[in-house]
Amino acid sequence: MTSVAATSSTFTFSAAAFQRLHPAEYFRKFVSQGVRPDGRLLSGFRPTTVHKSVVSTANGSSMVRVGGTTVVCGIKAEVAEPTLEAQDKGYIVPNVELSPMCSSAFKAGPPSEQAQVVSDAIDRILKDSDVVDLEQLCIEKGRAVWALWADVVCISYDGNILDAALLAVMTALTNVRLRKPTYDEGVVTVSGEALTEENSFSLTLTRTPLSTTFAIFDTPNNTLLADPNSAEENVSLGRITVTLDEKNQLCGVHKVGSGSCSPALIKSCIERAKERTQELRSLLA
């Protein structure tokens, strides 16, 4: 008993225990020194790799790794009926899957709120920023069009899923090959022959928006953590996502969560996003 009393005055515990008990305080100790637990500076991004054409059963595919986050995107094309509103336009449907495989934070069952919100965010960027001229996907006006199903499967989740998923969708869209179909009296024929330059075509993208996310770590200082991982997402109070195309035009600014941001802060995010998306574009090329 006496030994317990003696040690309790100088009670200490390991860094791992500290991280589990007071995650926010643990991070604050690092952030106050200008570094993050994984060794990055506050403005540092995680190493990012892009692989193209990884799934041969898909018309276009990609695998993107952003640090510990890995996503695979496969685009499948199907002949479908056009919608009533747009008789000469095809459609692209993005869908993000966050299964219990990629992190113990996700449960089996219907798509989680996060998965739905990320799918919707990508859908909006594709539609509102006119990424693909959908008339390219028309086979016969009012009769048949291409429907592209862009499915993103998250294999390993370590934060910042939107940036990774959007990069994967854009990469997969650039390497989509569609067979040239023939339309004859209500019958669409797509040949089963091997793909060649003559019997297939790729999509022309009007622009390729890529996003950059920052987590707001504290208020009112508004310390920003670039490209937050999953542990950082859990302790942060909000986030700012800036989406830019290759001409540095904005395709989206999204700020959510606590802490009111000054225009200067948003401007600095835009500036840093410009540098980051330039780097990402070199991976896409």
């Binding site: 709120e113 739905q116 919100v117 799918s119 919707d120 965010a121 859908d123 909006r124 960027i125 509102d128 920023s129 006119d130 622009r207 208020t219 009112p220 109070l237 909000g238 195309d245 035009q249 904005l250 395709c251 989206g252 600014v253 999204h254 700020k255 959510v256 969560g257 606590s258 802490g259 009111s260 941001c261 000054s262 225009p263 200067a264 802060l265 948003i266 401007k267 835009i270």
Partner: protein
């Protein structure tokens, strides 16, 4: 400069507001907010019992449910739910009601553009009506940039939104912006030399736009929100005056 909806004369003019609080008997607080032809009804229940799975030991759990005009809630509504929840979480003094549930239901009644902004304002009034402690009041407006004229239109209708190159939803609170303590933060100055004002709580901009256009929208919306804040204050004041009178009788 005439606008498509004919009732307005200026591009920076808001549609008429309308609000009505305490409409629903069974909810702890409720409010309707209209921007012209757009109407959203919001109800607040809480502090109520929370499911053990969602229980937070040091604060109240916020749950936002968005209901669309027609049909069942879809992916779009999930985005609105998340946006409202994450914006309100820091605003509500949830530490005062730990281990409880605060449920907010947002029902679109009429849609003529700017539903998300209307929903933000309706939620704010419903929270006040329910007597939920808050640290500030937020107000929201939407603006867009016209594809042909490149003009910033405040509070667009559905008809106008069909012509939009980009749309911008902004939320500002009514707190005075923190004093510029750090000298290293440069002000953002627009082309006409004006400094961009206001600290943004929530913003969602989509479409294609330049940085200058973004900050122009920022400025227009910040000015627009001041009117909304004034209106919210009057609405709350009127309601309390009425309640006070009823108590006197």
């Amino acid at each position: 400069m005439a606008r498509l909806d004919k009732s307005r004369t200026s591009s920076h003019q808001l549609r008429p507001f309308f609000t009505s609080q305490n409409l629903l008997n069974r909810a702890d607080g409720s409010a309707q907010f209209d921007f012209g032809g757009t109407s959203v009804l919001c109800s607040v229940v809480g502090p109520a019992e929370v499911k053990i799975r969602d229980e937070k030991l040091d604060k109240a759990t916020l749950e936002v449910l968005a209901r669309p005009l027609v049909g069942v809630p879809g992916v779009k509504d999930k985005t609105i739910e998340q946006n409202i929840r994450e914006t309100l979480e820091p605003l509500v003094l949830s530490g005062l009601h730990p281990r409880t549930l605060l449920q907010i239901v947002v029902q679109t009644m009429q849609d003529d553009g700017c539903v998300q902004s209307t929903a933000f304002n309706a939620t704010m009034l419903a929270l006040i009506d329910a007597g939920v402690p808050l640290n500030s009041i937020l107000g929201s407006v939407t603006c867009m940039i016209d594809r042909k004229t490149n003009q910033v239109l405040l509070d667009p209708t559905r008809e106008e939104l069909a012509q939009a190159k980009s749309t911008h939803v902004f939320v500002f609170d009514n707190k005075a912006p923190p004093a510029q303590s750090k000298g290293d933060e440069d002000d953002v100055v627009m082309e006409d030399g004006d400094r961009v004002e206001g600290h943004v709580l929530f913003c969602e901009s989509t479409g294609v736009f330049t940085e200058a256009e973004y900050f122009e929208c920022y400025q227009v919306c910040y000015k627009g929100v001041q009117t909304v804040h004034g209106f919210l204050r009057t609405a709350v004041q009127k309601k309390f005056e009425k309640e006070h009178q009823q108590l006197q009788d």
